[in-house]
């Protein structure tokens, strides 16, 4: 699991994840991702286009980070999910509470 962080302008942080959000992948990435985003209460958009697998551990991680960001005035928006990954977000209804958009431009302006 790899992570790339870029400044997307307007105070938005764009994070690209590459790999699998299964238990081993989450073990690799969760502490690092949280450290990049939560302490500064980032407004973050998360690129899932290169994430080939998402399980419930990834959902838990997204909700935990989004909640922590919300308490600090930040926000987490997901975008670019592949169809089977998007289906997991829909099945769990987590897309009702962590916004999911089709691309970076839509994610950057997401309000809810």
């Amino acid at each position: 699991m790899q992570l790339q962080v870029k400044d997307a302008g307007d105070g938005i942080v764009n994070v690209s994840l590459t790999g699998r959000l299964d238990t081993p992948g989450i073990d690799n990435i969760e502490t690092l991702l949280t450290a990049h985003l939560v302490p500064r209460g980032a407004r973050a958009i998360l690129d899932l286009s290169q994430v080939a697998f998402l399980g419930s551990g990834g959902i838990r991680m997204f909700i935990t980070i989004a909640r922590a960001l919300g308490r600090k005035g930040g926000k987490l928006v997901l975008y670019g999910a592949q169809p089977l990954v998007a289906q997991v977000l829909e099945t769990t209804s987590s897309n009702d509470i962590v916004p999911v958009r089709s691309d970076a431009a839509a994610a950057a302006v997401a309000r809810d």
Binding site: T23, P24, G55, S56
Partner: protein, 143 residues
């Protein structure tokens, strides 16, 4: 042509054991002619069940012994999981309610929900030897 080779993986219920076993399962699935959705569902079932065993299976901190069997059939694939952890029948746990807000959202319960959605059928038994045995059927050409 369906390759019908049974695979059995035995591993400790630890994060390292999980990672190694998942690699072996994925290698075996590479050899099957599975459509993308079925392949994803097979991995999802393994992920959710084994993560549950690793995280919750040991009552006293001891290492749980886990066995996973992959059995390809012409119309389906069967994944069977056996472990000597605490008794756990995933059929008896309801799905979590849909979260109304980020603050109210629970972060647990999605594992069983995803596993049940992926499976065509589930069979569970606590064996006479004191092991959980969960068999999951995944239909080929699933919608």
């Amino acid at each position: 042509m369906v390759r019908s080779q049974r695979l059995e993986i035995r591993f400790p219920g630890t994060h390292d054991g999980f990672a190694q076993a998942f690699l072996r399962l994925r290698g075996a699935l590479d050899a099957e002619r599975l459509d993308a959705a079925l392949r994803y569902n097979a991995e999802l079932v393994f992920e959710e069940i084994v993560a549950n065993i690793v995280n919750h299976g040991a009552a006293d901190g001891r290492e749980v012994d886990v066995r996973c069997t992959l059995e390809p059939r012409p119309d389906s694939i069967i994944l069977t999981f056996e472990d000597d952890g605490v008794p756990f029948d995933p059929r008896r746990h309801p799905d979590p309610s849909s979260p109304r807000s980020l603050e109210e959202a629970k972060v647990g319960g999605f594992d069983l929900m995803l596993m049940r959605r992926a499976a065509s059928s589930l069979d569970y038994v606590r064996t006479a030897a004191g092991r959980n045995q969960l068999s999951v059927k995944l239909q080929r050409n699933c919608p």
